[in-house]
């Protein structure tokens, strides 16, 4: 499903990833693990098409990312994101935040997903009117709304307590059961128990 070949990346003169090559199979729950500064967030950004690598090639479903003409549309159709700090837009309500990400034909799913995640009653509230755990569930709902083939999550539980962390992991596992590939970058080792594949990084290299 995802094939990375010789991926390297620099921030200015500083190299953060060194010739990484690996494959991720469809329907897996992949854990990108490593200490802070190991390069896992950078790698996740590259895999999710949010950042162009300095060198190397990335194939998703055997198509090179460089050859995709409309990367925005590709992202909206195939990829979902969960960020550490949820990154909801504060002037939009919970419902509107999800609607912003939703494809036109998937907008009918919004209330169903909100209900499944237990946040339907907050749909008209704004992000600053709900708790951190609820905000992260909204972020997960936003990632799921288009029923993407892949969900990338960067430290999705970094700002949550253990109870809410478990809720988020269960939601992601549920997505895997429904055929979605989930790639999570985290230093939270709790996730190992959910993972079907683990990629360990240290100083920008795969161990």
């Amino acid at each position: 499903m995802i094939k990375a070949s010789n991926i390297s990346h620099f921030y200015g003169a500083e190299q953060v990833l060194y010739n990484l090559s690996f494959e991720i199979k469809e329907g897996g729950f992949v854990f990108l693990s490593g200490e802070s500064g190991s390069g896992k967030s950078t790698l996740l950004s590259i895999l999710s098409t949010l950042l162009k690598p300095s060198s190397g090639e990335l194939l998703i479903d055997e198509v090179s990312i460089d050859k995709i003409k409309n990367i925005d549309s590709f992202r909206q159709n195939r990829i979902g994101f969960v960020f550490q700090f949820h990154y909801l837009i504060n002037y939009l309500s919970v419902y509107e935040n999800i609607a912003l990400a939703a494809l036109e034909e998937k907008k009918q799913n919004i209330n169903k997903i909100l209900e499944e995640l237990g946040i339907l009653e907050f749909s008209s509230r704004y992000p600053n009117e709900i708790s951190g755990g609820q905000r992260q569930r909204v972020a997960v709902a936003r990632a799921l709304v288009n029923e993407p083939k892949i969900i990338f999550a960067d430290e999705p539980t970094g700002s949550l307590d253990s109870k809410n962390s478990t809720i988020v992991y269960e939601l992601l596992r549920e997505a895997v059961k429904n055929g979605t590939t989930v790639v999570v970058a985290s230093h939270d080792m709790q996730i190992e128990s959910y993972a079907t594949q683990i990629i360990r990084l240290k100083d920008g290299q795969i161990l």
Binding site: L51, D72, Q76, F81, Y87
Partner: protein
Amino acid sequence: MAIFLISSVSQGVIGMYSKMIKTDGDIIITQKGISDTFFSNVDISLLEKIDKLEHVTSSYAMIVGASPIGHIPIAGIYGTTANHFSHYKLSSGKYPKEGEVILGANLAKQFATVGVNIGNKRFRISGVYSSDIGFEEGGVVMNIEDAGVLFNRSASFILVSSDSPNKIDNIVKKISGMDSAIEVKTTKNFVKEYNQFKIIENSSFVISTLAFAMGLMGIASVMSMIVNSRKEEFGIMRALGKSRFFIIKNLFFETLIMSLSAYLFALVLSLGILAMLPHIEMLQGYVNGTLSLSTALYVLASTLFMALLGSLIPAWIASKTDPILLINQGCA
């Protein structure tokens, strides 16, 4: 708003003076080689000869000057021949005889006395007049003989009216032949060529252009700051699959709404201030504003252009940046 007010007030000052001259005659006679009516001296005895010309319906002479009046540091003084008094609509009292003056309504509010000191002479106040020209409303009208003594001249200028617009050029020629020390022009040409107007126009053009340029740079930099502060939001939108076009289109309409709202707010506020200016006693009605449609449209077009330039250029640059870098820059 500064753009509106500076342009409007300078246009208003020019408008008031040109209206004063244009509405009272078709031809103006001033001293040759003197560029300012305040310093011009024309022989008043020309009036007799001018009145005998064919197609001349009326003529009158005027002395314009400025002087401290009582506690007021400066006010316009208009000495005129008696046949021009009717131009000043009396709201109380009588037209002035020798040694008397009538006060403009704005100036009259500041004098509860029966007389005023002008120069080294005391004049009795015989009445109060009103005028829709701010300069006159804050001034004093007296007999031209009294003004002549006060300012030591015969007349500042003579204005002539004709019943035949086609014959005006012919009348101008005839009057020019009467005295080699005078300059005769149609009032229309005079207003167009009057040096004082050119000075006011040029200086107001420079001031309003500078205010305008600063205002526009301010608009562009504020819009640019607003867009830059929203990098994280644009990054999130790009991460969610929203196209560059979607982001720029939304920003375009947001900028349009913001600019139009700010423009309308400034326009209404400026019109309010301009409406208040003539009624501020301290200004004696001398500061007046006229906001022309062309100025309003010019300011609108420039404001929109700069606001869009200030917001769309950084948005375009941001749209070409990797989404995750935008998100991280926004967090920084």
